[in-house]
Amino acid sequence: MSAFVGAVAGYLGSLMLSKRMALVGGPLGHLTLPGITLALISGFDVSLGAFLFVALGILFIWLLEMRTKLPMEAITAIIFASGVAAAFLFLPEEKTVPALIGDVSQVSVEAVAAAVILSLLVFLATKKIFSGMVLASISEDLAIVSGTDTRKLNFIYLACIAVVVSLGVRIVGGLMTAAVVAIPACTSRNLSRNLFQYSYIAMVLGGIGCVLGVVSAALTGTASGPLIVIVDTLLFVVSLTSKRTGT
């Protein structure tokens, strides 16, 4: 499950980094905390709780951006700070660590199957919108005139982010989802010379980071979330030695 979620997070992250939105994964990850809290208190799946709150948060961010014209980062900060505050008011103390840094040790077969299927669906959806989203980054007008429905693509894009963040919280927790989205994409950018290499290297690195993190956690008896992020960071540091110059 970690390999699938990590890989799709890396792949989507390469698109988010292209849209200069990779760090939004952080605040959105924090936004999952009230959902995780609700799930832990009520006994349902944490990813489902996380998804409900991320989707709600994205809806609020979208509405407030239209109403207030405030920058998206500022609105995201307001929404996630209130989310974190609400979560800590109700989160039982013994559930704090799994909520913050993730826990894949006690996942049901159904949850694994659902995560794998959702990861594959997000991969397919992201693949479908990738070129249109990159073209819209160059010029939204150019994309629309070339036949791209940018509003539809943005909706699919945000939905993919919501799903990946919700799946990501299970493996690295609400605190570190930005890492599994942003770091493989940054590493891949250092290694690739075109869009194809960039997106797929990010996907492979995302998968490798999660697998190595989970295996290391099993061997050392520690939590997998921080180890996944450390493996991702090490891969990034290694990539710095072969940074391409843009030719």
Binding site: S14, L17, S18, R20, S131, G132, V134, L135, S137, I138, S139, D141, L142, I144, V145, S146, R189, S192, R193, N194, L195, F196, Q197, Y198, S199, R244, G246, T247
Partner: protein
């Protein structure tokens, strides 16, 4: 008389209650080069964007074809902070074959080796030719260009317009061009639409672009040099 490819009737565009284009009507015939002239803030860019349905408008815009290619001003095309996009991948966004890309590269004088280069790594001159090639690769019948030479030196401007002129002749293109450059009007335009929120003049530039009319469009101080050659 050539067929009409674009008919605009009573076009009105407003932003936040402020009128940007008022009651504009004109027609464009197949194979025509229409230059849209006007001072800054006259609504030229908004006009092109309204014609393409990129901004809401009142009135009627009727296209006889939808195979339109559009290029916004080059400074509005993002060239930095992009993923490592190769030139070939940028062209593939248009779902064209490699053979089509190579053909248009040859026509605009770009080497094949550029296909593997990154989109953001081209020089200004290469980028200019590449973006023209991109606009033309899927063989559109109408081109809408918004100040394609803004930010480009004079030598580069001449190259770009001579390229456009060649394609216009060879492919019987219809071109709508927003520019501040009166030289382009004298050398390439069949018709000119002068505007400042509303239509000020429309027709053959040699007939309608009198010194008085230019002063009315741009204010006092405009220099009037009509080129006699074409």
């Amino acid at each position: 008389m050539s067929e009409t490819v674009l008919k605009v009737q009573n076009l009105n565009v407003s932003f936040n209650g402020e009128k940007v284009i008022a009651d504009l009507s004109f027609e464009v015939r197949k194979g025509e080069v229409l230059v849209i002239l006007g001072p800054n803030g006259a609504g030229k860019t908004t006009l092109l964007r309204a014609l393409l349905g990129l901004v809401p408008y009142r009135g009627k815009v009727s296209w006889a074809t939808r195979h339109v290619s559009y290029l916004p001003p080059q400074e509005l095309l993002q060239r930095k902070d992009l993923p490592p996009l190769s030139i070939e991948e940028f062209f593939k966004f248009k779902k064209v074959s490699r053979a089509q890309i190579l053909k248009i590269f040859e026509l605009v004088g770009l080497p094949q080796s550029l296909l593997g280069r990154r989109y953001g790594a081209l020089s200004t001159g290469q980028f200019q030719r590449m973006i023209i090639a991109w606009a033309l690769v899927d063989e559109p019948t109408i081109l809408l260009f918004d100040e394609p030479t803004s930010g480009i030196d004079i030598g580069g401007q001449e190259t770009l317009y001579s390229l456009l002129h060649r394609f216009w002749k060879e492919r019987n293109l219809t071109i709508l061009l927003v520019t501040h450059d009166l030289n382009i009007v004298w050398e390439h335009a069949e018709n000119v639409l002068c505007m400042n929120k509303e239509k000020l003049c429309y027709g053959n530039p040699r007939k309608v672009l009198t010194p008085e009319e230019l002063e009315r469009i741009y204010g006092a101080g405009i220099k009037y040099y009509e080129h006699s050659h074409r």
